[in-house]
């Protein structure tokens, strides 16, 4: 019984930290997207849009290294993509954090499950899936 109530409080703490992590991640990434959007509009506002036909090379900034390169040149679209990247990493960080919290709770089954989910995501990050 004592063990159960202790776990309950640990769970509560973890959930509160998890909630904060998600919120901060979303706000931070959206702020970056907004700043990128302002820069992008300032320089590109009068261009003509062309999204009629999907072209895999057109958007540029489709790898993490490209995004960081563009970020160095302060390009608006690179800043937006960096914000998008931060947003994508928000739920991934949530998985990482959950794994640690299950580790603290000594729930090794769920450490394993969490690690598996993380591996699936990291595998897709490896950039070998897009032909």
């Amino acid at each position: 019984m004592r063990k159960e109530s202790k776990n309950f409080f640990a769970d509560r703490d973890i959930q509160i930290i998890l909630g904060t992590l998600l919120r901060v991640g979303v706000i931070a990434s959206m702020a970056v997207v907004f700043i990128g959007g302002v820069v992008y509009l300032a320089f590109n506002h009068s261009e003509i849009v062309n999204y009629k036909q999907f072209d895999s090379v057109k958007s540029g900034f489709s790898t993490i290294s490209d995004i960081f390169l563009g970020l160095g040149e302060l390009k608006g679209s690179a800043i937006i993509q960096f914000g998008v990247l931060l947003l994508i990493f928000t739920p991934i960080m949530r998985v990482v954090f959950s794994i640690f919290s299950f580790l603290i709770e000594r729930d090794y089954l769920y450490v394993l499950i969490g690690a598996f989910v993380l591996c699936v995501i990291l595998f897709s990050l490896s950039n070998k899936l897009v032909g």
């Binding site: 769970d11 509560r12 973890i14 959930q15 509160i16 998890l18 909630g19 904060t20 998600l22 919120r23 991640g25 979303v26 990434s29 959206m30 997207v33 990128g36 959007g37 992008y40 509009l41 590109n44 506002h45 009068s46 261009e47 849009v49 999204y51 036909q53 999907f54 072209d55 895999s56 090379v57 057109k58 958007s59 540029g60 489709s62 790898t63 608006g76 679209s77 690179a78 993509q81 998008v84 947003l87 994508i88 990493f89 928000t90 739920p91 991934i92 949530r94 998985v95 959950s98 729930d107 089954l109 769920y110 499950i113 989910v117 699936v120 995501i121 897709s124 950039n127 899936l129 897009v130």
Partner: protein, 287 residues
């Protein structure tokens, strides 16, 4: 198509403003009805603005991550979300979302539009249907006990116990939901509800918040594939993400004070119309 004639030569500024407003409405209505913003923003981008569906899918998935993570933050704090159920089912949804995201580019855009329309019709039907709570406290499921999926959630009468049923069936249905999510760039909440409410018989409060909790990770998995493939274009993703998120945030604030039954019915009709347009344009090869 509409998009060809009216918006033939649109400037970046005009495009951004139109998409921003559209995404705001999509996020607002999506959050009020529980359908999510993706199901409206994709028809808007493709049917009205003539954007290639692959770009629309990439932008939509970003809005799914933003809205689901934003609202998950609130739910997680209330302690209704079952993190173990979410984590376990994420095995199915992340793998299948990546598979869906990989195959989507090899499928003819017309077929994607048709599949999208069918899922949209199905979601509209699920939205107006009377929900029946199948949950109970019969903890006889061995797998659910082994995986520690059974839990408690706060109600007006104090903490309520609940048991999870048919774990394998729910897992398989989640796999299907993940494929659809990766294929179409939507959260596919309607399919997740079937898996959790009807197959696993989880109480509404828990299933809604847990499915929302999973959506972010699932969408992130396919978003990485989209990003690498160049489907996430900053010029579209920026107004879509900002618009949907502000709309959804406003929606969740109104939601507490409004009765949504009538709104859902009106919205179901709008969604059914959008769905038929997507199917029609898919069948005639215009998308």
């Amino acid at each position: 198509m509409l998009g060809d004639s009216i918006f033939a030569a649109m400037s970046v500024l005009l495009f951004t403003i139109i998409v921003l407003l559209g995404a705001f409405v999509a996020g607002l209505v999506g959050s009020l009805t529980g359908l999510g913003g993706g199901v409206i923003i994709i028809p808007l981008l493709t049917l009205v603005l003539g954007v290639d569906i692959h770009y629309a899918i990439g932008a939509s998935i970003i809005s799914v991550i933003a809205t689901s993570s934003g609202s998950a933050a609130a739910y997680v704090k209330e302690g209704i979300t079952n993190i173990r159920i979410g984590m376990f089912l994420e095995i199915a949804t992340t793998i299948s979302a990546i598979i869906g995201a990989i195959i989507t580019v090899f499928i003819n855009p017309s077929y994607i539009a048709i599949i999208f329309g069918v899922i949209l019709l199905f979601s509209a039907a699920m939205m107006v249907r009377k929900k029946v709570d199948h949950s109970d406290n019969d903890t006889s499921g061995k797998l659910a006990v082994f995986l520690k999926l059974n839990g408690t959630y706060p109600t007006e009468k104090g903490m309520q116990n609940y048991a999870v049923h048919n774990v394998v069936g729910g897992f398989l249905m989640m796999f299907v939901a993940g494929i659809i999510s990766g294929l179409l760039g939507i959260g596919s909440g309607a399919l997740k509800v079937i898996a959790m409410d009807n197959i696993m018989r989880i109480p509404f409060k828990v299933s809604t918040t847990t499915s929302n909790f999973m959506m972010g990770v699932t969408a992130a998995a396919s978003a990485i594939v989209y990003l690498h493939r160049g489907q996430i274009d900053p010029g579209i993703a920026m107004p879509v993400a900002l618009g949907v998120l502000t709309g959804a945030t406003l929606g969740s604030k109104i939601l507490v004070r409004t009765k949504t039954d009538k709104l859902k019915l009106i919205f179901a009709i709008v969604v059914a119309f959008l769905a038929s347009q997507m199917i029609y344009n898919g069948l005639t090869g215009r998308l």
